[in-house]
């Protein structure tokens, strides 16, 4: 009981601390930063896929968008028959499929 109360107080304190520091954080965020010290340049972004692959990915995305539009637009009644059937399973003889 005592332990729960201590935990509750600690949680409360943490919450209070966050609440207390949030305006300060916001205020600090509003202040323009001083220019950062010169550091190593960020690593280059990984190269994107080659143009032919990018084009094919665009085609695949577009096909998926079209398919999803047809699925989303298809009229279905509220409720209705379940999409799949759930059934309980008994014990297995062997491991699952690889």
């Amino acid at each position: 009981m005592r332990r729960s109360r201590r935990r509750f107080l600690r949680l409360l304190a943490t919450g209070s601390a966050v609440a207390a520091t949030t305006p300060a954080l916001l205020a600090r965020a509003a202040v323009p930063k001083r220019p950062a010290k010169r550091t190593a340049p960020p690593p280059p972004a990984p190269p994107g896929p080659p143009a032919a692959v990018a084009e094919e990915l665009r085609r695949q995305r577009s096909a998926l968008t079209d398919a999803l539009k047809r699925i989303r637009d298809f009229p279905l009644p509220d409720g209705g028959e379940p999409a799949g059937r759930f059934e309980p399973l008994g014990p297995r003889r062997r491991g699952p499929r690889p």
């Binding site: 094919e56 968008t65 079209d66 279905l76 499929r97």
Partner: protein, 467 residues
């Protein structure tokens, strides 16, 4: 001495010879292994040849015969397994470079069942990586490179059961097992001029088979004839406690006499206006229909339910496959696949919401109900398999096969069985086929019809000019 004609013989002929002890299972296996050594490398048909294991199994089969124990129609018959079926002691690569050393300590249920039936496993056939689960655009999206069509080595075999198609057509195995999530048995069967059966979802156990899309995957035979498919299906079908999705529905595959006039046969017309459709393929399909009419069938042209079957199937397969191959995304191995777009599939799939998946499932259910109504009025559906012949090896498949598989989306979304039958040749003397689709558990009827068609035609006996 095993002559070349026996390497193209059907199961009934080989089985009769083996049972009568005119054909030695060991000599038969040796002859096939010799032919595999000669032709498999140039066709990219096999991922692994299991010569020692095959000879061991053949000796066991021969020993059983000497002891008077005949296991049935497949006793001593050489076969090949798509390389996504687990085989203890042999690697199982799933056709994928990052998994080329993968091995399991157990056999897939279908492998066990065929061994118990006395069949002799020659090796593992090449396939499109991950059975195409993460997509592919070129025929070379396979660990072993593009599978070459025995009818013209500059053309592809179709996928994803590419090596299974090539092996059966080239006489490198009497039959093979393939799998279909969407098109992977029917497509190579059409392009290689062989007979392939996509069973009803749940008819054949998938325990020990790679999961591509759980609610779509089927394992089925690819063989020389409908009769051969029947013999193989008889051995592998049936409930399996290791695969909770396998069905307890009785396996009734006995051959029955077909009375054409009593059957209500629906006809799905060839869409000659579809981009990529070939006039020669159309002509071959029309000739097959004429043969069916001559046999006494009345074909009623139909339209299928207008629901977004292709959209539902493609979205659900994508989501299931991305989940199935999550490990490859997590460890970065997905970047070692041949298809350059595969690594981006998880990112693309992120556009699909949970609600979309449930919606797709609900539409799928409606589609099943509509097809159940359809098959209450029709016994079987006749449809083109593909509208064109096999594309060239280097073809961009988006361009080369721009049309949709005419009834593949509906058939696979609803888990329906289909039988692919060769019906002639198209452009460049490459094979063309058609398909029979039936309601769930109608494999027996489809095979009866296929056998009837193959008694009247000889397309299934044609051999590619390899020798």
């Amino acid at each position: 001495m095993i002559g070349p004609e026996l390497l193209h013989a059907d199961i009934a002929e080989l089985s009769g010879g083996i049972r009568a002890r005119r054909i030695s299972p060991v000599e038969l296996a040796e002859a096939f292994l010799q032919r595999i050594r000669r032709f498999a490398p140039e066709l990219n048909a096999f991922e692994t040849v299991a010569a020692d294991e095959a000879l061991l199994q053949a000796r066991l089969a021969e020993g059983d015969l000497r002891a008077g124990h005949w296991r049935g129609a497949l006793h001593g018959i050489p076969w090949a397994a798509k390389d996504l079926l687990a085989t203890a002691g042999l690697r199982t690569t799933w056709g994928a470079a990052p998994l080329q050393e993968q091995a399991f300590d157990h056999d897939a249920t279908v492998v066990t069942r065929l061994r118990e039936a006395g069949a002799v496993l020659l090796g593992k056939t090449a396939m499109i990586e991950l059975a195409g689960g993460l997509g592919y655009r070129f025929a070379d999206a396979s660990l072993s490179g593009p599978a070459r069509n025995p009818w013209n080595r500059e053309h592809w075999t179709g996928g994803s059961s590419s090596g299974s198609g090539a092996a059966v057509a080239a006489g490198l195995a009497t039959f093979a097992l393939g799998t279909e999530t969407w098109g992977s048995i029917l497509c190579p069967s059409a392009f290689c001029g062989i007979t392939g059966l996509r069973p009803t979802y749940g008819r054949v156990s998938r325990a020990g088979a790679m999961a591509c899309a759980w609610t779509f995957d089927k394992v089925g035979p690819m063989a020389r004839s409908a009769a051969d498919c029947r013999a193989v299906l008889q051995a592998i079908a049936g409930a399996d406690p290791d695969d909770p999705s396998s069905s307890a529905e009785p396996v009734e595959l006995r051959s029955r006499r077909v009375e054409p006039a009593r059957l209500r046969v629906a006809l799905f017309p060839f869409d000659a206006a579809a981009k990529g459709a070939e006039t020669e393929a159309h002509a071959a399909y029309e000739a097959a229909l004429a043969e069916l009419r001559a046999a006494g069938f009345v074909l009623e042209t139909v339209t299928l339910p207008d629901l977004p079957a292709a959209e539902v199937a493609s979205v659900l397969i994508m989501i299931e496959a991305v989940s199935s191959f999550e490990r490859l995304f997590a460890n970065g191995d997905v970047r070692r696949l041949r298809d350059a777009c595969a690594p981006f599939q998880r990112e693309i799939a992120a556009d699909v919401s949970g609600t979309d998946v449930v919606r797709a499932g609900r539409i799928r259910r409606r589609l099943q109900e509509r097809m159940a109504d359809f098959f209450a009025a029709h016994d079987v559906l006749v449809a083109p398999n593909f509208l064109s012949t096999a594309p060239r090896l280097d073809a961009d498949l988006n361009q080369a096969l721009p049309y949709g598989d005419p009834v593949g989306a509906i058939g696979n979304a609803c888990g329906l069985p289909a039988l692919a039958l060769p019906c002639g040749f198209g452009r460049g003397h490459l094979p063309v086929g058609f398909q029979l689709v039936g309601p769930p558990w109608s494999e027996g009827l489809l095979l009866d019809l296929g056998e009837l068609y193959q008694r009247r035609t000889r397309w299934h006996d044609e051999r590619p000019p390899l020798d």
